[in-house]
Symmetry: C2
Subunit: 213 residues, 2 copies
């Protein structure tokens, strides 16, 4: 398999975590978002949506959208499982993942921040306030959801799930913008547990070949 | 089952479509977003994230996040299927749904538009331009994805899927803000096919008990 991705892209990071958890090897193909490589014809031919990540299967077919890719990997390579077998529990994990992927992250990705600055003439301080507002607001909702669940090491139970694949990149992003994580007890405990796991360390931006830090 | 929802909420509309496609009956419990009913204690006790929709099962358990709810319904009530059985095809449908639910809709929901106006002091014209920009930009990506697929009645194949459950509410929203749908040939053909289907008609905002139109 090949993964078209960018070290700092949260959605790419999610898929790298899933691949690492499952011990699947892949070719890392960097797509430099800040240089606009995702909009070039060579990438657009592979990914009509021009977003990262894209997973290329060994037979040459492509898949996009990080959660769809991760569920595909989980169905094809079920060990270790990233979604519980029970339908209700599986829905709860998907719900946690979507709370991040549909409610927090979309408001803070690169193209949105660019629009705020370029089209709405928002200054640096207001842009950062926007960023922090949505991350904090969303993570508070996430924390309230976790508080309803039985005690666990990770977001949902004692093994990493799709929810952890989404949470960790969101925390990394929030750290870059100095988001206040105070009081997010369960959330940050899950994050800390993840960061002790070798798969999460292996997938993190600083471990990527295109890392610029 | 009971569905806590709001007639104009896109995420609620998605779940109503899925319930209607499967012929499942439910109690319609309106939560008035504009009046802030989702933030009241009575609702927060049911939905810690304070978002709509929430599905209450007959045993009293709750599920949130529209795509997670729809996948749960599809697993528990598999006829008619809203996701193909083949893992790759299923991933393609999820990817289309997520292209709307993770890339377009989050930028245009009520709380985001409120933040633009209240915190960023964006005027009505710039707010509408923001809205139209993200819907148009996202639907162009969606259209490019559809153009890669074999000809079909709906978004993916000749039966409605999760992708159609997400597309139709997004088009409804876009219509309210006069988005230009020109050139979105496959997308709008799928929308038109959906709107000839009784389940989509039955689920639309104007057919809801809390409709204010």
């Amino acid at each position: 398999m090949k993964l078209y991705n960018y070290f700092r892209s949260s959605a790419s990071f999610r898929v790298r975590i899933a691949l690492a958890l499952k011990g699947l090897s892949y070719d890392y193909l960097p797509v430099h978002l800040v240089k606009g490589e995702h909009k070039q014809e060579s990438y657009a031919a592979i990914a009509p949506s021009r977003l990262v990540p894209t997973l290329e299967l060994d037979d040459g077919r492509h898949l996009s959208q990080s959660m769809a890719i991760i569920e595909y990997l989980d169905e094809m390579h079920p060990q270790p499982r990233l979604l519980p077998l029970d339908p209700f529990r599986r829905a709860q994990v998907r719900s946690l993942a979507q709370l991040i992927a549909c409610e927090i992250h979309p408001l803070n990705n690169l193209r949105v921040l660019k629009y705020l600055v370029r089209d709405l003439k928002v200054d640096e301080e207001a842009k950062n306030a926007w960023y922090r507002h949505w991350v904090r607001d969303g993570l508070e909702a996430f924390e309230r959801e976790l508080q309803q669940l039985p005690a666990s090491t990770y977001c949902y139970g004692d093994q990493p799930t799709l929810a952890d694949c989404c949470l960790v990149p969101q925390i990394f992003n929030g750290q870059r913008f100095n988001v206040d994580f105070g009081g997010l007890t369960r959330t940050m405990a899950a994050f800390d547990a993840c960061m002790k796991h070798p798969a999460f360390q292996q997938a993190q931006p600083s471990a990527c070949p295109d890392n610029e830090a």
